[in-house]
C-alpha cells in the first residue's frame, strides 16, 4: 500500500507549504527515527513516520492525525501535502466507508423504531436491504468519483507547470477521509428535529467539501479559469448530492404512511389522506 511515487521528485510549493521548509525531507526519510507521537500533530516537525518507512502509513497516530486533519480543513493546508505527506494509506478510506455504510443503515433503522414508538400505526421491519444499498452507494462514491477526478486531472496535466497531479491512491485517500465527518452527523440525524438535522447536515457538508476544495485548489489553480471553476463546483455538487440522497433515503422525515422507500410512497396516496396530521405538529 505504499505510494508508488515515493521515490519520485516532488515539486514543492511556495513558502507557506510545510514541506518547503524542510526541502531535504525526501532524502532523510529513512534516517530519522522520529517516534510516532512527535510526528502526530506537530506542524513543524518535518520528519518521517519513524523507522519502518518501507510499509504503509497505517499507524494508530497517523490515522488519527489524518482524521483530525479532515475534520478541520484550513485554507493553507493541503491535506495531501500536510497530512498524507505523499504516503497514502488505504486503511482509512476503506474502514471509514464501511463504518459509514453500516452507521447509515443502523441509524436509518433506528429512526424507524423511534418513529414507531411515537406512532404505533407505522409498520416496523428490519429493512436489511438498506445495508446493501448503503454499502454499494458509499463504496461506489468513494472509489469511482476519485477515479474520474484523477482521470480528469491527468488529462489536464499538460496545462500545469508547477504542481504535479495527485496519484490515484492519494485522491482516494482524500475522499475517504473527507467522508469521516458524516459519521457523527448521521448519528446526530437520529434526533427527530428537522431544523437540527438540516443544520448538522449543512455543517458536515461544508467541512467535507471545504477539505476537498482546499486540497484540490493548488492543483487546479494553474489551470484555465473555466476548468478550475467547473471542476470544483462538480466536486462540491456531487458531495452535496451524496449527503442529501442519504438524508432522504435513510431518514424519511416522520412518515405519515407506512414506511416505504420514496418510490413506493407515491403509490399510496389514500393512506396519506387517512392518517392524522398530529405527528407532524409534534415534530415541529
Amino acid at each position: 500500500m505504499a505510494a508508488a511515487d515515493e521515490l519520485a521528485f516532488h515539486e514543492f510549493e511556495e513558502a507557506t507549504d510545510l514541506l518547503a521548509q524542510t526541502p531535504n525531507e525526501a532524502t532523510t526519510r529513512g534516517d530519522q527515527l522520529v517516534p510516532q507521537q512527535h510526528v502526530a500533530v506537530a506542524v513543524d516537525s518535518g520528519g518521517s513516520y519513524g523507522a519502518e518507512d518501507e510499509v504503509e502509513e497505517s499507524d494508530k497516530t497517523a490515522v488519527l492525525d489524518r482524521i483530525k486533519g479532515s475534520l478541520l480543513p484550513r485554507p493553507g493546508h493541503n491535506f495531501v501535502r500536510h497530512h498524507l505527506r505523499n504516503r497514502p494509506d488505504l486503511y482509512g478510506p476503506f474502514w471509514i466507508c464501511a463504518t459509514l455504510a453500516f452507521v447509515l443503515a443502523v441509524t436509518g433503522n433506528l429512526t424507524l423504531v423511534l418513529a414507531q414508538r411515537r406512532d404505533p400505526s407505522i409498520h416496523y421491519s428490519p429493512q436489511f436491504h438498506k445495508v446493501t444499498v448503503a454499502g454499494t452507494a458509499i463504496y461506489c462514491y468513494a472509489w469511482l468519483v476519485p477515479l474520474a477526478l484523477w482521470g480528469f486531472l491527468q488529462w489536464r496535466k499538460g496545462v500545469r507547470e508547477r504542481m504535479g497531479p495527485y496519484t490515484f491512491l492519494e485522491t482516494v485517500c482524500v475522499y475517504g477521509y473527507s467522508l469521516f465527518v458524516f459519521i457523527p452527523t448521521v448519528v446526530l440525524w437520529l434526533i427527530p428535529v428537522p431544523w437540527l438535522q438540516w443544520l448538522s447536515g449543512a455543517l458536515a457538508l461544508a467541512l467535507s467539501a471545504a477539505g476537498l476544495v482546499f486540497t484540490l485548489w493548488p492543483v487546479v489553480r494553474e489551470d484555465t479559469r473555466w476548468a478550475a471553476v467547473l471542476l470544483l463546483s462538480v466536486v462540491v455538487l456531487l458531495h452535496a448530492l451524496l449527503a442529501t440522497g442519504c438524508k432522504f433515503y435513510f431518514f424519511q422525515p416522520l412518515p405519515l404512511e407506512p414506511a416505504a422507500p420514496p418510490h413506493q410512497a407515491t403509490s399510496q396516496p389514500p393512506t396519506v389522506l387517512l392518517s392524522p396530521p398530529p405527528p407532524r405538529s409534534a415534530a415541529a
Binding site: 504503509e56 490515522v63 486503511y91 474502514w95 443502523v106 433503522n109 421491519s125 428490519p126
Partner: protein
C-alpha cells in the same frame, strides 16, 4: 579437516594401537565403511497409525472432530491466553455456528416484502466475507497470524452471539413489550462484549503494539453488525 596436515601419516593402515591413544591428534580423512542394521523401534506403531484413520468407524471420526470443536467452544467461553485455537485451527466450528445463526436469522418464507430481515445468504455472506476482510486487514497491517488461524478465531468467537440469538428467540416467544426489549438488549450487549474480549484475547498478540487498535476496530465493527442483526430480529 584442517588437522589433516598434522596427522602423522595415514591412519587407515592397520597399525595396532591401544584404544583411544592419540585420538586427539588423529583426523579421519578417509571414508570408513559403516555396516549394520538400522531399526526404527516405533515402526510397527507407525504402520498401525497410518491405516487407523482409514479403517476406523465413521462414528470415531465424527466424534473426534466433534470433541475438537467442543474443546474450542470451551476455550471461547472461558477466554484465557492460550493458543489452542491457533495451533489446531479448524473451520468446522465456524461453519456450524454460521449456519445456525443464518438459519435463525432469516426471515420466514411467508414474509415476501422487500424490507425485512436478512436472508440466509445475506447473513452467510456477511459473516464469511467480513471475516475474510478482517483477516486480510490484519495481515496487511503486519500481523503474524496465518489466514486460516484468523478465520478460525473469528468464526469461533461468534459463539456467544449465537447463544444470544437463541436466548432472544426464546424471549420473543413471550409477549412483546419494553421489558422484552430491555432483556434482549442486555443479553445482546453482554454477548457482544464477550465476543470482543474473546477474539482480542487471541488476536491482539499477533499485531505490533502501535497497530493493535487498528486491527481490533474492524473486529468491533464486525460483531457490532452481527449484534444489530440479532437485536432487530422480529419473528413474522
Amino acid at each position: 579437516m584442517a588437522e589433516a596436515a598434522e596427522s602423522p601419516g595415514d591412519p587407515g593402515t592397520a597399525t595396532p594401537r591401544p584404544l583411544f591413544a592419540g585420538l586427539s591428534d588423529i583426523s579421519i580423512s578417509q571414508d570408513i565403511p559403516v555396516e549394520g542394521e538400522i531399526t526404527i523401534p516405533m515402526r510397527s506403531r507407525i504402520r498401525e497409525f497410518d491405516s487407523s484413520t482409514l479403517n476406523e468407524s465413521v462414528q470415531n471420526t465424527i466424534m473426534r472432530d466433534l470433541k475438537a470443536v467442543g474443546k474450542k467452544f470451551m476455550h471461547v467461553l472461558y477466554p484465557r491466553k492460550s493458543n489452542t485455537l491457533l495451533r489446531d485451527w479448524d473451520l468446522w466450528g465456524p461453519l456450524i455456528l454460521c449456519v445456525t445463526l443464518a438459519l435463525m436469522l432469516q426471515r420466514g418464507s411467508v414474509d415476501s416484502e422487500k424490507d425485512g430481515g436478512p436472508q440466509f445468504a445475506e447473513v452467510f455472506v456477511i459473516v464469511w466475507f467480513g471475516a475474510v476482510t478482517i483477516t486480510l486487514n490484519s495481515k496487511l497491517l503486519g500481523g503474524n497470524i496465518s489466514f486460516f488461524q484468523s478465520l478460525c478465531v473469528l468464526g469461533y468467537c461468534i459463539l456467544p452471539l449465537t447463544v444470544a440469538m437463541l436466548v432472544c428467540r426464546l424471549v420473543l416467544l413471550t409477549e412483546p413489550g419494553p421489558i422484552n426489549f430491555m432483556v434482549r438488549l442486555f443479553v445482546v450487549i453482554v454477548m457482544f462484549a464477550w465476543s470482543i474480549v474473546a477474539s482480542t484475547a487471541f488476536l491482539a498478540d499477533s499485531q505490533p503494539p502501535n497497530r493493535k487498535a487498528l486491527a481490533v476496530y474492524p473486529v468491533f465493527l464486525f460483531y457490532f453488525v452481527i449484534s444489530w442483526m440479532i437485536l432487530t430480529f422480529t419473528p413474522q
